[in-house]
């Protein structure tokens, strides 16, 4: 359980990091929290010859709120998100979702950007980022580009971050109006990863009339996916349990389902329906409870 040999670099600027990544090409891997990479290296399933540790780049760490946007640096830990008072007020789904990631040790080390860039199909953040319409800022040799979450998760363990590039920041628009949001997760008893996780956001008008809703699913298939059909079925409807349950029946549409020794494809299909319904109910409840009072004030 000792990794193979590798060279280690700890740049202090994004530019320096990108330079190193470009220099070493496919041989290099970015080390953020290391919670996916290091176990793979210890099992010798991954053997990068160069590690570029981005934890000493100050600008990559932290949570900033400007106007209607929250920007989270790539090496911000799950624990920082979990404890963020700003996020608890304006994007409460983020700190709530952080509490169900791994255990306290994982949360103290693991990073937001690392988890997103790794694109683990059972990671929690992909669903949350997708539902919140996050935008990913990626820096490469040719400068900076921005990729919407909807285009970021390409396939199993594949994100839009190309070799030689670095995910630096994630910007999330703070939703306005009467909003409720919730992430509901069925965790694996061993790994703690999402067998199915659903992030749901509802924006309401009077009497639970749904102006907008956004639902994203992780764990069930090869990549995090928006439940577009369910969203469409709920927009401009009055939300109640029956309506949401019915709409949730379509939540699996478009998912390339995975099955394993713990949960078959068929069972994951069931979990997607159940957890979509639960996430919607929780989001509706949150909106009714004025979860996003602060978010409303800002706009």
């Amino acid at each position: 359980m000792i990794p193979g040999q590798f060279d280690y670099h700890a740049p202090t600027t994004v530019q320096e990091a990108v330079q190193l990544l470009q220099e070493h090409g496919d041989e290099a891997k970015v080390l953020a929290g290391g919670h996916s990479l290091v176990p793979l290296m210890r099992l010798r399933l991954a053997a990068p010859s160069v590690l570029v540790d981005i934890n000493r780049i100050p600008e990559l760490r932290g949570i900033n709120r400007t106007n209607g946007t929250v920007t989270i640096g790539a090496t911000t830990t799950h624990a920082t998100i979990e404890r963020s008072e700003v996020l608890k007020r304006v994007l409460p789904m983020l700190p709530a979702a952080a509490t169900v990631i791994g255990d306290p040790m994982v949360r103290n080390r693991g990073t937001f950007g690392g988890s997103l860039a790794h694109a683990d199909p059972a990671g929690d953040w992909p669903a949350v980022a997708l539902a919140l319409n996050a935008e990913m800022r990626i820096v490469g040799p040719d400068g900076e580009r921005t990729v919407p979450a909807g285009e970021f998760f390409v396939d199993l363990l594949t994100s839009a971050v190309e070799p030689g590039e670095l995910l630096t920041h994630v910007s999330i628009p703070v939703p306005g109006g009467n909003v409720g949001m919730s992430y509901q997760k069925f965790g694996h008893p061993a790994s703690g990863y999402a067998v199915t996780g659903v992030a749901a956001i509802v924006t309401l008008y009077e009497n639970n009339y749904c102006l907008d809703c956004s639902i994203a699913i992780t764990g069930a298939g090869t990549k995090a996916t928006r439940a577009t059909e369910t969203e469409n079925a709920l927009r401009n409807q009055t939300l109640d349990e029956a309506t949401m349950a019915q709409a949730a029946e379509q939540a699996g549409t478009g998912i390339d389902f995975l099955g394993d020794i713990y949960a078959s494809e068929e069972y994951r299909q069931q979990l997607v329906k159940v957890y979509t319904k639960r996430a919607l109910l929780a989001a509706l409840h949150a909106a009714n409870e004025g979860q996003s009072a602060e978010a409303q004030k800002t706009l």
């Binding site: 008893p189 061993a190 020794i261 069931q270």
Partner: protein, 770 residues
Amino acid sequence: MAYASLIGAQVKRKEDPRLITGMATYVGDLDIPGTHHVALVRSPYAHANIRGIDTSAAASMPGVLAVVTGEDLLSEYEPMPMESSGEGEAPQDERDMEHTHHALSVNRVRHVGEAVVAVIATSMAIAQDAADEVIVEWEPLPAVADMQKARQDDAPLLFRDRPGNVERVWRKSTGDVDAAFGQAHRVVSQRMVSQRLAGIPMEGRAVLAMPDPGTGGVTIWTSTQAPHLSRKDLERTLRLPENLIRVIAPEVGGGFGVKIGIYPEDILLPVLAKRFGLPMCWIETRSEHMVATTHGRAQIADVAAAVQEDGTVTALRLHILADIGAYPQAPGIPKLTCRMATGVYRIPAVDLQATNVFTNTTPVAAYRGAGRPEAAYYIERLMDLVADELGMDPAEVRRKNFIPPDAFPYDTAAGETYDSGEYDKPLTRALELARYEALRKEQKRRREDGSGNLLGIGLACWVEMCGFGPFESAIVRVEPSGTVTVFTGVSPHGQGQETTFAQIVADHLGADFDRIVVRHGDTRETPMGVGTMGSRGLAVGGSAVVRATGKVRDKASRIAAHMLEAAPEDIVLQDGKYQVRGAPDRGLTLAEIADEAYDDDLPDDIEPGLEATSFFKPPELVYPFGAHVAVVEIERDTGKVHLCEYFSVDDCGPRISPVLVEGQVHGGLAQGISQALFEEVVYDQEGQVLSGTLMDYAVPRATHLPMFTTAETVTPTPHNPLGAKGIGEAATIGSTPTVVNAVLDALEPFGVRHIDMPLHPEKVWRAMQG
């Protein structure tokens, strides 16, 4: 010093300060100059011939001392029989002497994870790098990983001399079983699986062997539960005199049965140490542990009861298919299951059969309970099915069949003689604690209501055999200053006997608890022992301590009589002092007596010194028992089981250290519950492990478990001076059937009769879908 009795008191563990502060020394903490590190190349195939091994690239890497194959070592040790000594070993006259262990497998491998090449280097990192460069030319053979398929005619054979892959069949029949079944009001039967589990102690296995050039002997630090048994098994294999082999179990981070007996690495490391004249160290990785350390359980049982109209069970049939893996490491375990088949019930006729089957999987051996949890699971699930079919309450069926308290000692039809028991007491207590009647009412209400989570209430009664012999040993030595050192033959690896044994000695000898040190786990300084397994530490090892302490006390009394100018028979130990009966003002402390014991003044008729040795041979096994109740809720739309409440009432006789008993119960419950709900080693058809990491194999976490409510009843055994039975495996045995019964109880409205463990949400959900 105010004197208080320590037996039965809430005493803090002596072991904890060093464990909590990280000051304990495990094998991996040893730092011996010149130590070389060994990495092992293991088989990626479940069944294969070795066609060739190319070690040249690995051997030429800087820092690599040597790369060694199984062939290279053949002349340096005696192959040893597969079966190890210890819990689960077959009786001597039934032992398999034909199939032998090698330090590194030669010619052929029969399961994924068999070690075939050892790479020795100056660091573990280099050794692992070099191991990646070893090229083994494999010829894969057809493999069979499923015990039922292994018995089919066209199945690949593991051993040519074992047709049908049957290792052995064990049978026992008592009474007229056929007549009982023929006359039964009803026959209740079920096939059940006790699935394969992995051991996963916090510390994996580890071996460090150091040659002793002065004597030609070897010192072996190994993470074991039984250093003396290891030495005994190694004596023949290593061709060394037993007294030149020193086996040390330093701090050992748990065992759960998988550290009993010797493994190939236990032979390999001393062989390499002697060959190269250097200390050699191997530390198991978690990945290795999942395939190279023995598994547990792995049985399929067909069980049937002949039942009368009133719920009385008149006969039991239990036919077990036991997957013993690729080698017969502990083939006696399925027999232990049969021996406990009738549980706490008076069942006069039995037909018992265990068929051991080879498969291309990791060998199956002892795992917390070793055969008894399986037995309790089968009989306690069956009792629930009987209740279900007769429309009786599960508690009522059990009470109908209990062995009554006045029937002890009781000879069971399975061949055991239960020492003592009062089975209704813990059941009644557990049902009271759980508010059973109220729970049933709430369940009825919810069923009528038809919404919300399903509520299930499960109960099970358990009994187990423990306190195996053949003996255990103790030396109690009082030093001149009055400190006491206890040397025990058992080898605690987390149990806390340094505390328990000190409590016993403090009370029985009038010694200061804080000045007692308990030594264990080193064959050079402790008397010949057996080890810690099968819930025997206190019942057998503690009894040896009691006996040795009694001898020391007798001698201390004689010395006190001399010092106080009284007759020895007038000396009593009272309030921590040796005093003349009726004259408490002239008492002597143990320290004062010890000082005298080593002094020139001692009269000629008293031999100097103050120590004694005792070997305790338990006359019979002991049979602790108890009753558990679990309350579960099940989500209707996912099948997810929530364990809400758990009540455990266990009777292990008198409790020396209630804190330690509580700890054993909590840990045991976690493991037993985990078998019911989470754990399973899964192989594919080719014998590849699909649950090879802790990302897939679920060990229980604190968040998986509710707060436990525990209680006791106290029924001493007549078979040892403490009256103590055993508690190490107890809660594991009781909890598995309890939780499964609770889940099936919740599913009753769906007409679900049985689901095999682990009760993963998908299985439960599918059962509800019908």
